[in-house]
Assembly symmetry: C2
Homo-oligomer: 510 residues x 2
């Protein structure tokens, strides 16, 4: 297996450069003294460039050719075959983009992100528009490096390998069209959920203790992770057993320390469960951004906001924050965790309206890429969709079209992965419940490992061996399907908001 060994050596270097970059980035957001920023940008850029040079090198192409004949006849899902297949895919994509276009995108993105930051502070879309125009033009030049059925396909493929716009669109539309009437029913129900127990005075030390206990309990492998504070929480892996989880702690709201930590812990749990054989290869990652998000969402919402888990957690919360939770029973805590309220800001949105935030961004991205929307019309189009889907008036662009960094970064095709994460989580949860009949009782007892082990065995260990569509089919059978997500949401919120004729498609909700 000489060629496979050579391939592993080359890919090990590429992985090391990428992981070093991740560590520098984590450090930048959690540890770095502020004045280190200027040099850090150069260091990050160098590591990215060297990694890309190697990923698109002639040498890697030759070793892949040799390895391809070596693994011929081996099973499709063997490590070696998957490594050659998926690396070839990455190599071919990397080769298609000229180095100068890639450099220009990097340069322009950095400028545009800073311009976005300033424009957002001033709530001034016009100031940002010329930058958005340049970034969009570069995205167009980028996608033209590829062959495609739909011009959105190459953009989407960077986040959801192999997925076509023609497959994605009906899934997100079915989701949207299922959620809008549900949201209307909730609004019409007149039921108010009392979530006041989540707001008040939460000493930071107790919040930190809670966060660590929650992560330990997921369970994450001991001595393999750490938790730090940052402004915009994220999780990143420096190795399968070197995971960096970040969060914010908000003094007067416990939700960040609880659900944001479980969310990032979900990402980390996925990385932590990848087969050790895949370490230092391009397979040592989640199957797609959607799959990655499916795990943050599944742990945050399906588990972390569930009646069983919150029943388990309730005594500890009452112990750590007696003033807040002494008068609240587990059922009250569960209801507080499930409050639905349309709001202007995506990252603050609830389980239902979050997907409508994504739906409107996806529609606008498609209109832009298809040439049906001028960029200068973007705020107006945005505000119209917010009014239509969420029933809200957008007071200014900072609370509207300027709220997210993604377009400033040229990351068209990224937003849908958030909703895909919810869709996939819905399908995985439905399958897990069918195969783990005691799941509710286990979560009520704080036993998370049966679920974690099931997910690791079905999803995590494979890392990036399969395309997301392949993995959905392997685990759940069939293709992407928003029905389980819709059924779960209708059942959970149908009960809480006492909606009539809740169409319970899944056996029970937890």
């Amino acid at each position: 297996m000489a060629a496979i060994d050579d391939l592993r050596t080359l890919l090990g270097e590429i992985s090391d450069l990428g992981r070093a970059r991740s560590l520098l980035s984590w450090d930048e957001w959690t540890q770095m003294p502020p004045r280190g920023a200027r040099v850090r940008a150069e260091q990050l850029s160098t590591l990215s460039r060297l990694r890309h040079e190697r990923l698109s090198s002639d040498e890697l192409g030759r070793v892949l050719d040799r390895a391809r004949s070596e693994v011929e006849g081996q099973p499709y899902d063997s490590f070696e075959t998957s490594l050659v297949r998926m690396t070839t895919r990455e190599w071919e994509k990397a080769r298609r983009v000229p180095a100068d276009l890639r450099a220009e995108i990097t340069r322009q993105t950095s400028i545009s992100e800073h311009a976005w930051d300033e424009a957002k502070r001033a709530s001034d879309f016009k100031a940002f528009l010329p930058h958005l125009e340049r970034v969009t033009e570069l995205a167009r030049r980028y996608l033209e490096c590829f062959e495609f059925d739909h011009p959105y396909d190459p953009l989407l493929d960077d986040y959801e390998p192999g997925m076509k716009t023609a497959e994605l669109r009906p899934v997100l539309e079915e989701l949207r069209d299922g959620l809008r009437p549900l949201l209307a029913e909730i609004a019409a129900s007149g039921t108010e959920v009392d979530n006041s127990c989540l707001y008040g005075d939460f000493p930071l030390e107790a919040q930190e203790r809670l966060a660590h206990e929650v992560l330990e309990g997921m369970p994450l492998e001991p001595d393999s992770w750490r938790l730090d504070e940052t402004v915009h929480p994220f999780a990143t892996g420096i190795g399968i057993s070197d995971l960096r989880i970040t969060t914010r702690f908000v003094p007067d709201y416990i939700g960040a320390a609880l659900w944001a930590v479980i969310h990032e812990g979900g990402h980390a749990t996925y990385q932590n469960g990848i087969d050790r054989e895949l370490e230092r290869t391009p397979l040592c990652q989640s199957a797609s951004l959607g799959f990655d998000e499916s795990q943050s969402r599944l742990w945050e919402n399906w588990v972390g906001r569930s009646r069983p888990y919150l029943t388990h957690l309730h005594p500890r919360l009452a112990e750590l924050f007696p003033a807040q939770f002494a008068g609240v029973d587990p059922e009250g805590l569960y209801r507080a965790a499930c409050n639905i309220r349309p709001s202007l800001i995506r990252i603050e949105a609830d389980e239902i309206t979050y997907n409508l935030h994504i739906a409107l961004r996806f529609e606008l991205e498609l209109q832009i890429v298809e040439g049906r929307l001028e960029l200068e019309e973007l705020p107006e189009a945005w505000n119209a969709l917010v009014a239509d889907y969420l029933g809200l008036d957008v007071p200014d662009d900072a609370h509207g079209v300027l709220q997210d960094i993604h377009w400033a970064s040229g990351s068209f095709g990224y937003f849908p992965t958030y909703s895909l994460g919810n869709v996939i989580a819905g399908q995985l949860w439905e399958t897990a419940r069918a195969e783990l009949p005691d799941l509710d009782a286990q979560l009520t007892a704080g036993e998370m490992h049966p679920l974690r082990d099931w997910l690791a065995g079905r999803v995590y260990r494979h890392g990036g061996k399969f395309l997301p569509a392949e993995l959905v089919d392997r685990v759940c059978g069939g293709s992407l399907d928003p029905a389980p997500l819709l059924a779960y949401l209708r059942e959970r919120f149908g009960e809480i908001y006492r909606l009539e004729a809740a169409e319970t498609a899944t056996p029970s909700v937890s």
Copy 2:
């Protein structure tokens, strides 16, 4: 200046790889979850290898050739000329060592360091001997890649560029021969220094506050550094304005939080003072390890253990640790800081015996490299020199020949730089005192910036533009000279231990 720009681009990448490596290493010792170690070793090795490939590349050689003609006729000390001159030196050295020898050294060193760690725990030199033999053999193959007058020269040159064994030897021998009688006089004086105020109960939170205040006061540039805990303290620079200082905090001893922090802060102050123009070039470093150590020592001992500085610090210490320092006056604190007592362990040694620890290691290294000592005889030779220089019996190898990692790492030639640091600090201090007549009054008032600015202007800003011998000559005039160090030690400890006929060569001691 096209060639210089190309040179800067290549060197910027090399610098970024080196600094990324430094950050990964800092992270490993301060932040990394324990189970990250295995992959981290691979990442560090990849960054080192890629950096070395680029540093020894044909491409860099060609760009250096072009740049050399471009800068012809420019002043010796201009940035461009110095960059070409010093980079050429590094490039030529890097080219002489075959890649497979370098890889073998890296591999063997890693094995040997782990073997040393186990052998030290078991105090079993015999278990370590075969590893030491392999590492020593590799050091021999390494030095044979170079031309030399003395076989120790190429080893020394890695730490003290341009320095010859023939220059170093008389300096260290003169130092040793000056210190031995001084130590004997101190022992014979019968004077006991009371340093009991440094031992007791020091709450960690107050220690941390002290450490931060001390570093802020040096002064280090705000928002450009951080302090973390580790096992073996060190300081490293990720950028001129991104400095990582580490320390240990010992609950029952204040010396670590105070002098170890000032020591590492001295290293950081040097990096922090390098001219910004040198950032992301090989000149963005200290002139040598000896020069680097001169700054940790100067700040730790000449400043940090001085009567003026401790007079300034005394009220704050009494405030933070009233039980310890309420009954001690500034003079008592000063005397406690200057206790001399021979001990077995180098890193715990005082200002005088430290250099005798180095002297014996240097003599043994020379004997090994000259082939006058068999490695199996090393413990016996070590113990004999400890008895001779320090008057102590070595109870076991863990407290003797196995105490340091340096030989396990193959770092022959490193030890002398510790004493060189003291020698250079002595020379710099003598010059600084002559040029800063109010220095004592300034330090007593806690005004450190006149000294810091003087050092930055004379030493720090030049980074690695000059060979250490050139820099000594530029700042102090002449060559390396242990006389100022000896005079300083004799005056300081002559007074404390009430020695007769103290030969005060410097005007006064502080």
